[in-house]
């Protein structure tokens, strides 16, 4: 019974799936108003609960050129039901001005025909901004009212390797909340060359002042055919309120808003690349532009087997980077009189007025194989000039080279040109020196150290001069000089006293004190007596200090002649006493 119910359910489910399987078709364009030669993207979406979605039938559109630009598929399975949708994209390029209609696009599924609504398209000379509609939320193609981008090229038809200048412009009249992020368009099929600098300026469009960022790029097609320059994108943050609507909530929300991110996309641009006219002349190496050739030698006289540079300089406008002169071509021109080596190429590129130009120098090392006056014939440089659509020629002047017979044998072996039968020729060529196979490390010391130390000899000299001057001044006034040094000398002598020998100790103490007093009074040591002390210090220093000095003088004179009266242990204290007495005396003497 249970099995039967399940089977019935399955049959009903399958039938319902079959019965209700529906197909939907819709079509939309990115813009209803377009300019002539503009591109309109047509999206046809076919969806249904089937994995086998049929292709739509695009009706004949005689007013447009139509190209398929791919498809995208989306499949989802929800509760066992398959939902599938495929979006087919087409690029329509209007052929003429006027109002046109894209007739209903049909799709046939299980014998039933489904169709879209017709779409009206107006083709004008120039599009108006207001009719360009956003593709999806916050994604805008072409113009938005306050902020928009555009890309355009200076020519839509060009020869291979001819310069096409792509200009990208970003217009804004509203403040941006972030640095705009620019994604350049895809340029498959082209060699690109930046054309700096980026220009920024103001412009007036319909009475409105816009700030414009302009970036230019040079494109050089690599092969013939139709190529599309993809869409350029700008992502930026703008304020999400309308300044005109002052009393709306939006206006007040601005204080709390972090802005709205918008994405601006430019229109893809189709370029037709023309092949170079046939037949191509002999010795044409693919150079496109307008060029001139100059050839010169480093020296006009050399000896046989010596190497010199033949400089071939190509100057002109065009993709100078791609200009080439094959070695075999030079070998052919120079003939059997020279050995030719790989050229060293230097390039000087200029982009003045957004035109790629410059010069390319081929420094070709050549070695004369015979002596005498050799002639380097004229070099014919053939290029295709896209302005005249013709192959043109620039010819260098022939050069004379005087070659003296060889005197020495060169050293380094190098392969000779292929057309010469000889296997190797000996010649000197420059190469870099070999790498170090050992290494040493060191710590770098501060660079300014050597600068700073320059001051030391001067400082040393200055110190000595100053000291000398000071000493000279002191010696002029000997009394002052002796008095100033007395205390220092006394202290030094006190420190060096030997307390073990009592006899010497008292003698030393006497000497120190008498020397001190002698220096202060500007007398000889022997002339110091109570009378002299009295003369010098009486009524000039405090009375008790004066008494201390005289009693100390008498005391040391006494101990000088009877040293056993005092214990060794006390000698240290005695030195302290002398030291403090001298200090007090020095302080008081300074006041005199």
């Amino acid at each position: 019974m249970r099995k039967f119910i399940i089977t019935i359910n399955l049959i009903i489910w399958c039938l319902s799936v079959k019965l209700f399987s529906e197909i939907n078709i819709s079509a939309s364009v990115d813009k209803n108003i377009a300019a002539l030669n503009d591109q309109i993207t047509l999206h046809v979406t076919v969806s249904g609960d089937s994995t086998n979605i049929p292709y739509p039938k695009i009706p004949a559109l005689s007013d447009f050129q139509i190209y398929s630009s791919g498809r995208s598929q989306n499949i989802s399975i929800v509760n066992g039901r398959i939902n599938s949708s495929i979006t087919f994209s087409y690029i329509l390029v209007p052929k003429r001005i006027g109002e046109f209609e894209i007739p209903p696009i049909t799709v046939e599924y299980q014998g039933k025909i489904y169709e879209t609504q017709p779409i009206k398209i107006k083709v004008e000379k120039q599009t108006t901004s207001s009719q360009k509609l956003p593709l999806e939320k916050n994604v805008y193609r072409g113009q938005k009212k306050d902020i928009f981008i555009e890309t355009f090229v200076d020519k839509r038809k060009a020869y291979i390797n001819e310069q096409i200048t792509l200009t990208f412009r970003f217009y804004t009249k509203i403040p941006l909340l972030s640095q705009p992020q620019y994604t350049p368009p895809s340029t498959t099929g082209f060699i690109t060359e930046d054309l700096p600098p980026q220009r920024n300026y103001y412009t007036i469009i319909n009475g409105e002042r816009y700030y414009v960022n302009e970036i230019k790029t040079a494109l050089f097609p690599t092969s013939a055919g139709k190529f599309t320059i993809g869409e350029a994108t700008i992502k930026c943050l703008i304020e999400d309120f309308d300044i005109d609507d002052f009393f709306s909530d939006d206006f007040f929300r601005r204080f709390f808003s972090t802005g709205k991110e918008i994405v601006l996309k430019s229109e893809p641009i189709e370029i037709t690349v023309l092949p170079l006219p046939e037949p191509q002349p002999q010795n044409f190496h693919g150079s496109i532009g307008k060029y001139s050739i100059v050839a010169y030698l480093d020296k006009s006289e050399i000896s046989q087997n010596e190497t010199i540079f033949l400089n071939i300089k190509i100057t002109g406008t065009g993709n100078i980077k791609s200009v080439s002169i094959p070695k075999s071509f030079i070998e052919e021109i120079l003939g059997r009189n020279f050995l030719v080596y790989d050229p060293i190429i230097s390039l000087d590129l200029k982009k003045e007025n957004y035109k790629v130009s410059g010069n390319k120098t081929f420094k070709v090392p050549i070695t004369p194989l015979s002596a005498g006056t050799l002639i380097i014939p004229e070099i014919k440089f053939i290029y295709f000039n896209p302005d005249t659509s013709q192959y043109e020629i620039s010819i260098s002047k022939p050069l004379n080279l005087k070659v003296a017979p060889a005197s020495t044998q060169p050293s380094l072996a190098i392969r000779s040109p292929s057309y010469l039968k000889q296997q190797y020729q000996k010649i000197e060529l420059e190469d870099i020196r070999y790498i170090f196979e050992n290494f040493r490390t060191k710590k770098p010391y501060p660079k300014n150290f050597l600068v700073i130390i320059q001051i030391f000899p001067f400082m040393f000299w200055l110190g000595i001069v100053t000291y000398n001057e000071y000493k000279k001044r002191l010696l002029k006034d000997i009394k002052k000089y002796r008095a100033s040094r007395a205390y220092k000398i006394a202290l030094l002598k006190l420190k060096s006293i030997d307390i073990k020998d009592k006899k010497i100790f008292w003698e030393k103490i006497y000497e120190i004190f008498s020397d001190y007093l002698a220096d202060k009074m500007n007398l000889t040591k022997e002339a110091i007596s109570i009378d002299e002390i009295n003369k010098f210090y009486k009524n000039k220093i405090p009375e008790n200090l004066y008494k201390n000095i005289t009693s100390f003088w008498e005391e040391i004179n006494f101990y000088r002649f009877s040293p056993s009266k005092i214990e060794v242990q006390n000698l240290k204290e005695y030195i302290q006493k002398v030291s403090s007495l001298l200090k007090t005396l020095e302080d008081e003497t300074k006041k005199i």
């Binding site: 870099i432 790498i435 290494f439 060191k442 710590k443 050597l450 130390i453 320059q454 000299w461």
Partner: protein
């Protein structure tokens, strides 16, 4: 007990410090040998990677090696990047001023890239000696001159008088040279490592002119603004703005 513990930890830390140093030296030495082998086998890109790795390690430890810098320059030369090659040769020359190999390769790169007329006669004269040599020589003369001055204070010898006069003249000459050298070496200079555009203003200012500047050119950096340096191209004697990432600074 506590002190003993600390001592053990101390010894362990010292051991760790030295052993890590030795390990680093070992790894650098083996990497250097590998890099040299790769260079000999003609695998210049692989060799370059290894030398650059060594250089990074040395930089981390604030050590320099002129030989490593020179070898990096050689690898760049071999893979046809003369701008980077010159940049590393210049750095190597900074530490080994009179090395014959460094100077030979540097001059060759300059010659091949048409940059051998960058220095004026004065510059060439100033560059005869390195910065260190100039200032060491100046210091010696400085010392002799002031020592003779001091001696002159205590002696009236004729020899000292002559030494004083002679060293004074020499000292003045070298002092002038050293001042020039100091100014010359304190200019912020760099090498254009990749061919790029020299602009007449930083891109934020509207203007139209630009000229291509080839790699391996030496420039003096005059100022900077955002991601641009205002530079003076020594060989071509022109001023302009150049993107910072296209210039390798050798002296700052």
């Amino acid at each position: 007990m506590k002190q003993k513990k600390y001592r053990i930890i101390k010894v362990f830390l010292i051991f760790l410090f030295f052993s890590s140093g030795f390990a680093l030296e070992e790894s650098i030495n083996s990497l250097f040998k590998e890099a040299v082998t790769e260079y000999k086998n003609g695998n210049f890109s692989v060799s370059l990677e290894k030398f650059l790795h060594i250089q990074k390690e040395l930089e981390k430890n604030k050590i320099i090696s002129a030989e490593i810098l020179y070898n990096i320059g050689n690898c760049y030369f071999k893979i046809n990047k003369p701008g980077y090659a010159r940049f590393y040769y210049e750095l190597a020359k900074f530490y080994k001023y009179h090395d014959k190999n460094i100077n030979y390769n540097l001059n060759l790169v300059k010659k091949l890239t048409n940059n051998n007329q960058e220095d004026s006669f004065i510059d060439q004269f100033i560059n005869l000696l390195s910065f260190n040599e100039t200032f060491i020589l100046l210091f010696i003369l400085n010392l002799v001159f002031f020592a003779s001055l001091v001696s002159g204070m205590f002696s009236t010898s004729r020899i000292i008088k002559w030494v004083k006069r002679f060293t004074f003249v020499l000292f003045l000459i070298f002092l002038t040279l050293a001042i020039f050298k100091y100014i010359h070496d304190n200019r912020k200079t760099g090498i254009v490592v990749e061919t790029t555009d020299l602009l007449s203003a930083p891109a934020i200012i509207p203007q139209t002119k630009s000229v291509q500047i080839n790699e391996a050119k030496k420039v003096i950096v005059l100022s900077e603004k955002d991601e641009y340096y205002a530079v003076f191209v020594l060989q071509d004697k022109i001023h302009g703005w150049i993107k910072k990432d296209k210039v390798g600074i050798i002296k700052s």
